[in-house]
Point group: C2
Chain length 122, copies 2
Amino acid sequence: MITPTNQPTTADLTEDTQGSLIAAGKVNGASVYGADAERIGHIEDLMIDKRAGTVEYGVLHFGGFLGLGSKHYAVPWRMLRYDNELEGFVVENITKARLDNAPVYEPAGVRDWNMVDNYWGM
Amino acid sequence: MITPTNQPTTADLTEDTQGSLIAAGKVNGASVYGADAERIGHIEDLMIDKRAGTVEYGVLHFGGFLGLGSKHYAVPWRMLRYDNELEGFVVENITKARLDNAPVYEPAGVRDWNMVDNYWGM
């Protein structure tokens, strides 16, 4: 029998970050930090393999500072490590210089995931 | 050098569903259909294994019809199959009767994923 319940809001549903699992809704928008724990951007979305159910890429949003443009980059997921203390993801090996030449994620543009893998050496 | 660009909106970023990958932002909110292709609910969120980067569970939202309550259920991800034609996920083996007794996903409640696996025979 279905009974009325106080339903959790989406915000409630995505607060669970302490266990081995994390809600995708909590990942999207999560801060991304460089090796020095400085915030360099955030995760805009995840790219998931439909069949395998594996997270393959994070779509990261960097930039937009000093009035200049910002860009989205697809980065292999295994470059990201969740840090419980920072409550965000750390990428140890992304430098600004390396990002400048990295494949940009564009909705109507190149979807060459092999190029992304090759660029990041994955 | 960073140059200003026309940045894609979040909506743009999540429109990619035809390839082998799908954006998490497109998965959240996606319709869920029963074996008869009738819409029975939608995906509210995904639970991702932080270390392995695997989607382990879908948090599904069913019910809310006839003025009665609705509930969230955690369902093992491999029970869901993406259907390009329906542009949503199909669960072949979930019946209403089976859902009635299924473990409910509650934000402050039980987080017993083993119970979820056992219930659904995974």
